[in-house]
Amino acid sequence: MAHDAFHFPTKEGSTFQMAEEKRSDHELIEATKNGDESAFTEIVSRYKSPITNYLYRFLNDYEEAVDIAQETFVRVYFAIDRYHTQFAFSTYIYRIATNLAISEIRRRKRRRLFSISGILAGDNEEPTEFEIPDERRLPEDELLESERDTQIAKAIAALPEKYRIPIILRDVEGRSYEEVSAVMDLGLGTTKSRISRGRALLKEKLREYLQ
């Protein structure tokens, strides 16, 4: 299946592909339903880094990202009987992670007791909200990022959720437009529109790094 052949970029920039002899996601899910704990451990090993990286770019907080990634797998485990194999497992787990991350962001907002919102002049189809970027430093032991990467991360984290999610899924995680639309439960056209709008916002912020 397409989602089983998905390529996960590694930290060094190279790629690996799951060996064909390895069990597919659906096979691991079925094995987990039948009580095979090692099958679920393999699912965790397979998706822990992509989910953690996605949440890290979404929240811009490594500890929070790891915590929510773990919670994502716990939710998957207890809802595994309700998972239907007609959907790609990667889409399913990314959607759970996204919902948990959105809940975390809203919890942060309530904790800060303030928020700033406004209408961004631009395309007239959707109003845009500004969010206060998280100024916490990225974990240096995890990321030896350049100043450019830091500014890119800040720019992504400052995007509104509706642009941030598709930008990360598509341009950082490399998911297809169809998968991104499935994760966000939006139409393909709306998804592309949001990606385009998000890129436009990023280009304005990262003008100095673009020719």
Partner: protein, 267 residues
């Protein structure tokens, strides 16, 4: 094909930004990620509430066991038996005030608090309404009887079971009629005259003095053998006369040789 072309055009338009984003370093999950996920799952399993029939049984079984134990205690508790009613709150036992002539007297009920029943546990029975006449019918006249414990008992055993009355407020005390034939403590006239120094025998209309002790009160009063004592302190006496209370012998009237003499005592 048109869709792919659209996607390609979209990527080309933002190719520089896309390349910039794709080149961002990736973070990895920590090494203990699987262990921490397993620990969370184990912890969540403990907190998961059982669902369906299993959840219902986890509630129903302890509840049934508790009810069974409670019921057993209630049934087997000897302190809550039928013949030993007890009370911790103020009950009222209604009795009817006795009359010496119950047939003609009007009956007016009186209420006696029954808070001091001899018991050692809570009551589960309603207050008993005990007619006093029933109690009196099975009790001895003259007041409450003394039970084996040495105290005044108001527990009466009858053919209809045990009746309880409050300690210290027994209806027998003030309601039981005093019979005129009841034996009373007293002193006989023989003892009284003996202390005066007189021994006598009963005569037809008095007490004939047989002898008088020398230097006795009677001797000093001048009573002599052969006198017939007619009265003591002005009261006619006979051989079976009984005297009650305190007595101060002041004078006797005797008949001697056809004459009636009043002889003062205690001179």
């Amino acid at each position: 094909m048109v869709k792919k072309a659209d996607n390609t055009d979209l990527e080309l338009a933002d190719s520089e930004l896309v390349s910039l984003l794709a080149a961002m370093p990736k973070v990895s999950a920590p090494n203990d990620f699987e262990f921490r996920v397993s620990a969370r799952i184990a912890s969540a399993r403990v907190g998961v509430k059982p669902r369906g029939m299993l959840g219902a049984l986890r509630i129903a079984v302890p509840a049934a066991a508790l009810l069974a134990v409670t019921g057993t205690v209630l049934v087997l508790n000897p302190y809550w038996g039928e013949t030993n009613p007890v009370s911790t709150h103020v009950d009222v036992a209604v009795v009817e005030k006795p009359d010496e002539n119950p047939a003609s007297a009007s009956r007016s009920p009186i209420e006696i608090p029954s808070t001091t029943f001899a018991s050692n546990g809570p009551s589960i029975e309603s207050p008993k309404r005990v007619p006093l006449d029933d109690q009196l019918a099975s009790s001895r006249p003259g007041g409450p009887s003394n039970d084996e414990t040495g105290g005044t008992s108001f527990v009466e055993s009858g053919t209809q079971g045990v009746k309880l009355y409050p300690r210290g407020i027994s209806p027998n005390v003030e309601s039981a009629p005093i019979s005129p034939n009841a034996p009373r403590a007293g002193i006989s006239i023989r003892d009284v005259l003996s202390q005066l120094g007189i021994s006598f025998t009963a005569a037809g209309n008095g007490l004939r003095v047989d002898s008088v002790t020398a230097n006795s009160i009677a001797a000093r009063a001048g009573i002599k053998a052969g006198d017939v004592i007619k009265s003591l302190n002005g009261e006619r006496i006979s051989a079976d006369t009984m005297l009650y209370g305190t007595l101060t012998a002041r004078s006797v009237i005797v008949r001697r040789d056809g004459k009636v003499l009043s002889l003062p005592l205690g001179r």
